[in-house]
Symmetry: none
Subunit: 423 residues, 2 copies
């Protein structure tokens, strides 16, 4: 496990619903994200069914790997909730009824004018020597305990209750335990090259065990690079992360389009607002997706005014004034038609920019000369029209998404060249 | 662990992004759900970071608990992807380069006109004695192997790739291993009422312990009812599921729009094809989303021809011939304008149907009289124009999605009334 000075956490998610495919475990990601804010890394997440021996085994496993264990789920009043019993079993003690907890439970039901069902009294029990964690939103108090110098927490699985209890009672307990180490994080978003190409450009930055550590994840063509710098104090960690970000930006150049959770549409929108320019789009194979991505950004009406989904050839002619003979001669999926669509859209909308996409999303409609995935993108402004040709894969959705993203990226690069560049 | 005759599965999710709170693990729930359809229970899910010793430990742990282990993630080409190495380490063998896999990888890059980066060749390696699982969507093949009578699988973490490989290559391998009891599953998709309303209509069908069991899940306004019937043999299970589906359909009537993974756009598209009719759309607040949902369906060019994203008032006037005075008098978000947009779209496109949406997606732009979430939907055909008014919540994305879905549903109900109904 390496460095002995760094405290680590392990998470245990408890519940049959997490193991039968019905429920996606969002609690683990929430807790991991919160722990990261206090520089406490999560080294593992384990999911266990609602069975006492399995939960005990899983707690033992988590405690072997980490200094802090946070378990969620299985604290309800019904027979299938056995986390409380398993916690006591793991600690090697009995469950004891705590009168003050029973009192609070009764009050909870009283306020709702209901008599407390007998089975709920199990929720007033905690393992001998352990403490309760207050739950103001539901009936299940949490539990915390020490064992062999390790800190153990159990919280209810209901996300709203868990989150509130974690944030108000667990996180403040943990913050002083960590101290001493600081983590600074930067995220860069890239588009326009594959994962290998990005890795090649940044050299050894992604090597294991390096500090700062650089992680790379890919989602729908967007490459996210996460820089995590660890140091004795925050200013030092921030300085290291800053330096790393700077060298990644130098290595990647125009491939970096933004930071954190920024989307291409957001960055393009900001550039348009900054330069006071407007945009129209004309789409064929993407069928509205490009307009949808652009208008997903609040305030996009400041720069986006007109969009056409000219799905039929007829629509390209009547709405965008693409000459019919051009379609007859070159086909609707051609550089010429992409160019004419963009020019027609800008002319009719009276905008500074227009972007057009025409292509074959598949699965049908491809040929040897024009395969499924072939896409032409055109960007038109007062200086002229740029067009480019791509072959995207794999399926209809991927081709459409990649085409729309690439159109946004093409516009971004053009805006960077012509508009004022921010510092 | 109980019954020795019942085969069990354990899942291992690999990736730092799953432990730092950035990514919620949806792969585990997907696989668990699919395994349930062949009556293979998942007894645990473990998440490991991108570190070889940690992955090896986690694989060993999973293999102790289960007969079948499915791991996902960490098969990419970069230095932080070490699942392949860990798999070999766990099996106690070397990684060997497989020429036929290297050939396929090179072809993958060739088709894109790119030279294969050297680092991708690691993806052509599998542990000695193990087999590769083909990946037609990306560069990372999967791995499967036997160890001590247990079956081990590793798949890429990219959900689309993982799902396709799991469904077509892993699940068919596992089905014969299980056998014994038979399960039949039916899924009904509903739209147009909340979960409580649906529950009310179907009475005690959702009671626990019932056979067939009916589960209800809600995602983005779509309610999915899953019927699971268990019996000694498949014909009996199928008959039970059939009978249950029939009684649910009777109770829910027009709320049921389809089965399995059908979308509203798919069902509307089928009705248009069946009746040989065509469609145009005109959107304001949904900004292309309605067109995007419609054209997401392969073959939609048979019935969808024209779409307008008239985001500015100007665009509504010039493109759809909405009278400027109407916008001045009633506002762009009004029943009158929705109606005029639909009529203008149908007139210009020459289609049998046109659907228009105008509304306030937020977060800005609302007022006391016209709050955020207010949406007007109009459907026009030769018999006239129907309009309806809604107030959707919660945020911009939800308002837009709900508006587009409701527009499709309105069209579906109108098509059902006027077109021939299928048997």
């Amino acid at each position: 496990m390496g460095d002995e000075h760094i405290k680590k956490a392990a998470l245990v998610s408890i519940g049959n619903e997490l193991l039968n495919g019905k429920t996606v475990d969002t609690n683990a990601a929430y807790i991991a994200g919160r722990l990261r804010t206090i520089s406490l890394p999560v080294v593992s997440v384990h999911t266990a069914p609602d069975e006492q021996p399995a939960i005990e085994r899983t707690l033992a496993l988590a405690a072997r790997e980490a200094d802090i264990v946070v378990a969620t789920g299985g604290l309800g009043p019904t027979d299938d909730d056995v986390t409380r019993q398993a916690f006591a079993g793991f600690l090697g003690v009995e469950l004891v009824l705590r009168p003050e907890l029973l009192e609070k439970l009764k009050e909870f039901f009283d306020r709702r004018g209901i008599e407390m069902p007998a089975r709920n009294s199990i929720q007033a029990c905690v393992p001998q020597g352990a403490s309760a964690i207050e739950n103001n939103m539901g009936t299940a108090p949490g539990i915390w305990a020490w064992k062999d110098g390790k800190r153990l927490f159990a919280l209810p699985g209901v996300p709203a209750e868990m989150r509130h209890m974690f944030d108000t009672q667990v996180l403040p307990e943990l913050r002083p335990l960590v101290g001493g180490q600081a983590i600074a994080v930067r995220r860069l978003k890239c588009f326009g090259a594959g994962e290998s190409k990005v890795a090649e450009r940044i050299g050894d930055a992604m090597e294991r065990g390096r500090n700062p550590l650089v992680n790379c994840t890919v989602h729908a063509g967007i490459i996210s690079l996460e820089v995590v710098a660890s140091a004795a104090d925050r200013p030092e960690a921030e300085k290291m992360a800053e330096r790393e970000e700077c060298s990644l930006r130098t290595a990647l150049g125009q491939l970096v389009y933004g930071t954190n959770d920024q989307t291409l549409a957001e960055v393009v929108g900001e550039a348009l607002v900054r330069t006071g320019q407007t945009l129209a789009v004309a789409e064929s194979c993407t069928g509205g997706l490009l307009a949808e991505l652009i208008t997903d950004i609040p305030g996009s009406s400041r720069y986006f005014t007109y969009g056409w989904v000219t799905y039929s050839n007829e629509a390209k002619c009547t709405e965008l004034e693409v000459p019919r003979e051009m379609i007859d001669m070159h086909g609707a999926v051609s550089e010429q038609v992409a160019r004419a669509m963009a020019q027609g859209a800008r002319r009719k909308a009276g905008t500074d920019y227009a972007v057009a996409i025409t292509g074959i999303a598949g699965p049908g409609g491809g040929s040897e000369q024009k395969p499924v995935g072939l896409v032409y993108i055109a960007v038109d402004n007062r200086d002229g029209t740029d067009t480019s040709r791509y072959i995207f894969s794999f399926d209809r959705s991927s081709v459409r998404l990649r085409a729309a993203q690439t159109a946004l990226n093409t516009l971004r690069l053009k805006l960077n060249l012509t508009g004022p560049v921010p510092i």
